[in-house]
């Protein structure tokens, strides 16, 4: 490859990258269409303050802990503190006024209180099961029964 084509290729890639960035950042992250895509992106999707590793709110942290407790360590999360448009958009989308918000199988499940309640009454195990996730709590329950 001669020098000229290398520089042209570089130029082309740069332009593509530039266009990709424009496309990405001109998306309205608070729009229904965009959020529709996000919630269906993964079996479990959490809109939270901070990240799964470093939640920045006690309620967001609680939701992550509950999921982890059921062995759900891999899930999609979106940090609303990094995106004001998404922060408002997700509230409008689910008609729910607070963060965190949990979606399982594209369906809105609830916030922290609902998750905690569903964890306590066993419904969470069923909800996870619907999307093919087996809660590790089931293994523990079975082990206990064997004893």
């Amino acid at each position: 490859m001669n020098r000229l084509s290398v520089s042209r290729l570089f130029h082309l890639n740069n332009r593509k990258l530039f266009q990709a960035l424009i496309a990405r950042y001109s998306v309205d992250t608070g729009s229904k269409d965009y959020i529709d895509g996000l919630v269906k992106d993964d079996n479990v999707v959490v809109f939270m303050k901070g990240t799964a590793d470093q939640p920045r709110c006690g309620f967001s942290n609680a939701v992550v802990q509950i999921l982890n407790f059921h062995g759900v360590n891999k899930f999609s999360f979106h940090n609303v503190l990094e995106d004001e448009s998404l922060r408002q958009g997700i509230k409008d989308y689910s008609n729910w006024p607070t963060i965190p918000q949990v979606f399982i199988g594209g369906e809105f499940i609830g916030g922290c209180d609902v998750m905690l309640e569903m964890h306590k009454n066993g419904e969470l195990i069923e909800e996870l099961n619907k999307v093919g996730i087996r809660s590790v709590l089931l293994d523990r329950i079975e082990e206990e029964e064997k004893k």
Partner: protein, 84 residues
Amino acid sequence: MPITVDQLKQKLENELEATHLDIVDTSDGCGAKFQALIVSPKFDGKPLLQRHRMVNTAIETEMKEIHAFQMKTLTPEQWEKQNS
């Protein structure tokens, strides 16, 4: 103006005909964080998510100012059972 416990109680009594309310301001007075126990016959036959939505709607204006609202939503029967 910070949201007060009385303000929330009044709304919930009016909108949800709450028969028992236990609301605690956990924000140290800035009015942005509450814990609530709400007992209402209107919750009868409604799943949890629906109940929470009813509360959110009843205090919609206040929720815009409130940062965190933890709630327990019970029917009068559930409340009685819990106390017996």
